[in-house]
């Protein structure tokens, strides 16, 4: 055992380097902090070396700075001193899921004609664990209740159900609370286009009612990249290292019944009327979309946020498969967030897509 103290980062604190900036992702406490380049080098190239050896590696020119760095890291609980670094392995980057498809989005509007029950029962059949139902137009509370009751009658692996509904006289927060209190699978109802401010209410144990003023009237609302939305935890980080953080394990049915990686993607893999979700989701091209990590995406590959970012493969720079998300205002080469997102380009793009999807398939 070495008697020289060695400072180690806690295993859940992982340094990530970008073109301009370096950060430590705190996967246990769900945050990140920027760190100086020199400290990044100490923490990565010299990991596991004793404090004395690190100072010696820099010919003892920066002893004071190195002392200060570790003092700060210990004080903020990113690092600790130990005498035997071999006892503290790095965090395993394993990511596993028992079933390939584990999250789904089903979009509905007034004109949707596809069989929602069939979609729900097929998702159960492929053991999809999480399901988001998005209603763009006002719905009748009774129809939703009926669907939730149907869920109770099938053996389903879907345990996390989230519903987005427009706030309207036909479906109010009172209706939402009632459903959240009744159906165990239902985790979250978001009332979009609600009057008043954004609010979250825990109706009962981990069952949430969210009211938000923004109206979600189409799939084009998705894909926004914002630090507020980063997923800073072990599961998301390890997944992003190996897979696409948005599309991996995802399947969706758009409002018209087309099966896609996500409702905003241009490519479809058949219509629910004649293609099963199992079939579509095992198509090699469908699976190929899951594989693109942020290390392969232009610009993103140089971004320090690449393993905590939510990504978007639908709205991308120049419409390229490996283009940076269009709704991301961050420039990893300058380390700055643009004050205005490229919203004009987005609007044109969305208009184009709307026109495209309204033509017969």
């Amino acid at each position: 055992m070495s008697v020289q103290p060695t400072y180690l980062l806690y295993a859940s604190c992982v340094p990530v380097s970008g073109a301009k900036r370096k950060i430590i992702c705190d996967l246990q406490r769900n945050g990140y902090v920027p760190i100086p380049d020199g400290l990044y080098e100490i923490l990565t190239r010299h990991r596991g070396k004793s404090h004395k050896d690190i100072k010696a590696a820099y010919e003892n020119k920066y002893d004071q700075i190195i002392d200060d760095y570790f003092k700060m890291l210990v004080q903020h609980e990113f690092a600790f001193a130990c005498t035997d670094p071999n006892l503290f392995p790095e965090l395993s980057l394993d990511w596993k899921a028992p079933f390939p498809v584990f999250n789904a989005i089903l979009d509905r509007d007034n004109n949707s004609a596809y069989d929602l029950r069939s979609a729900v029962s097929q998702l159960s059949g492929i053991n999809c664990k999480y399901l988001q139902l998005r209603f763009f137009d006002p719905i009748d509370g009774a129809a939703l209740t009926e669907l939730l009751q149907y869920f109770e009658t099938i053996r389903s692996a879907t345990i996390g159900l989230e519903v987005l509904v427009p706030a309207a006289p036909g479906f109010t927060s009172t209706d939402a609370r009632k459903l959240l209190s009744t159906f165990d699978r239902l985790n979250k109802i978001t009332l979009h286009g609600s009057p008043g401010e954004f609010s979250i209410e825990e109706v009962r144990n981990k069952r949430f009612l969210i009211s938000m003023p923004t109206s979600v009237d189409s799939e084009a609302h998705c894909g926004i990249i914002d630090p507020e939305l980063f997923s800073i935890n072990i599961k998301a980080f390890t997944e992003a290292k190996k897979f696409n953080s948005c599309l991996n394990g995802k399947i969706s049915v758009d409002r018209k019944g087309f099966i896609r990686n996500c409702p905003s993607m241009q490519e479809d893999f058949g219509h629910l009327d004649d293609t099963s979700l199992a079939e579509a989701s095992s198509h090699p091209d469908f699976r190929a979309r899951w594989q693109m990590t942020k290390d392969e995406v232009n610009v993103c590959r140089d971004c320090e946020f690449r393993y905590i970012c939510t990504d978007c493969r639908a709205y991308t720079q120049d419409n390229e498969a490996d283009g940076k998300p269009l709704k991301c205002g961050y420039d990893p080469y300058t380390g700055e967030w643009a004050s205005t997102a490229p919203s004009n380009r987005l609007r044109t793009r969305v208009r184009a897509q709307k026109t495209a999807s309204s033509s017969p398939a």
Binding site: Y10, A11, S12, F80, D84, L87, P89, I234
Partner: protein, 318 residues
């Protein structure tokens, strides 16, 4: 058929079952409250038994035990009535027979035991740990104020914790629960009578960090818990601080300590359990206790161990 006996809320059972479903392994989950039908026949020609005993390729007693009291009786009597306690005693005879038989039949394809949990004894375990040369905290159990005062005077920094299970007593004026591990000093004795029900005290061991080990069949998974940075968790990491959780990181137990833990497990007749250790500022490992049916989801998640996958594999590959 793989059978898992568990509680409804146990997340590790849920997650393990997903992996078993992925492997299309026939699996049956028995909730600890679900009444089971059974048959035991013993005569001169031999004995036979049916119910949860037969037809298993692996049996995992994760939490709780099978229930052999029909719902009609279960719901009819309050658990506090003497008649219910009598029925429970009878049921234990059945449970004990079933577990013994099953362990014989399945040989090594049976993990966990309700009776191991039931007979788990902190005092015996401390002696077993000591016998395999693990360090333990100096410990005293007494019903005498005089003895308690002497122990506190001798060891200065003393803690007390539950001797058996945590207290949980619902009552008219609210629920009484135990406070986990707390420091105790001479002044705490002032209000106490000369004799009282057994009190469990130990010398307070200084910590660099705590270690939680999950042992399952032949493998140990460990996690270091840095509870010393937070006043709230210095004495007991279970006084969780949700806003700023203790740092919990993967830990590699030195082989010498791991081998002592396996010797301890063998002596305690346990094939699974969670062991709590302290790592002292001097670099020594001190054994605290074992929980045969302890929680380990937090260990699996914080260390990214995927224990659910490991456990499912250990059933299907065995």
């Amino acid at each position: 058929m793989i059978t898992i006996v568990s509680e409804e809320q146990d997340i590790m059972t849920d997650l393990t079952m997903e992996w078993l479903a992925r492997r299309k392994t026939p699996t049956r989950r028995i909730q600890n409250y679900e009444p089971q039908t059974f048959r035991i026949e013993i005569d001169n020609g031999g004995s036979s038994a049916a119910g949860p005993i037969s037809g298993n390729s692996h049996y995992w007693t994760r939490r709780g035990k099978e229930n052999y009291i029909p719902a009609t009786i279960d719901h009819h009597f309050s658990e506090n009535l003497p008649v219910y306690r009598y029925l429970e005693q009878d049921e234990l005879v059945v449970s004990s027979y079933v577990e013994t038989k099953r362990k014989q039949q399945l040989n090594h394809h049976d993990t966990g035991s309700f009776f191991a949990e039931k007979k788990n004894n902190k005092l015996i375990n401390l002696e077993l740990a000591k016998s395999v040369h693990l360090l333990i905290p100096p410990t005293c159990v007494t019903n005498s104020k005089k003895v308690l005062a002497q122990f506190i005077r001798r060891h200065k920094q003393v803690i007390t914790k539950d001797l058996c299970a945590p207290v949980y007593l619902p009552g008219d004026k609210g629920t009484l629960t135990s406070s986990g591990v707390i420091s105790i000093g001479l002044s705490d004795l002032d209000a106490m009578a000369d004799n009282f029900a057994a009190v469990f005290v130990q010398e307070n061991i200084s910590k660099q960090f705590e270690i939680r080990c999950f042992l399952f069949r032949k493998t140990i998974f460990s996690m270091a818990i840095f509870s010393q940075n937070d006043q709230q968790t210095t004495t007991d990491f279970r006084n969780y601080n949700d806003a700023r959780p203790n740092r919990c990181v993967p830990f590699q137990l030195p082989p010498s300590i791991a081998s002592k833990l396996w010797k301890f497990m063998a002596l305690a007749e346990l094939d699974t359990g969670s062991i709590d250790l302290i790592y002292t500022p001097e670099g020594e490992f001190v054994f605290l206790e074992v929980n045969p049916m302890g929680q380990f989801h937090w260990l699996s998640e914080n260390c990214n161990y995927y224990l659910e996958h490991f456990i499912a594999d250990s059933f299907t590959n065995a």
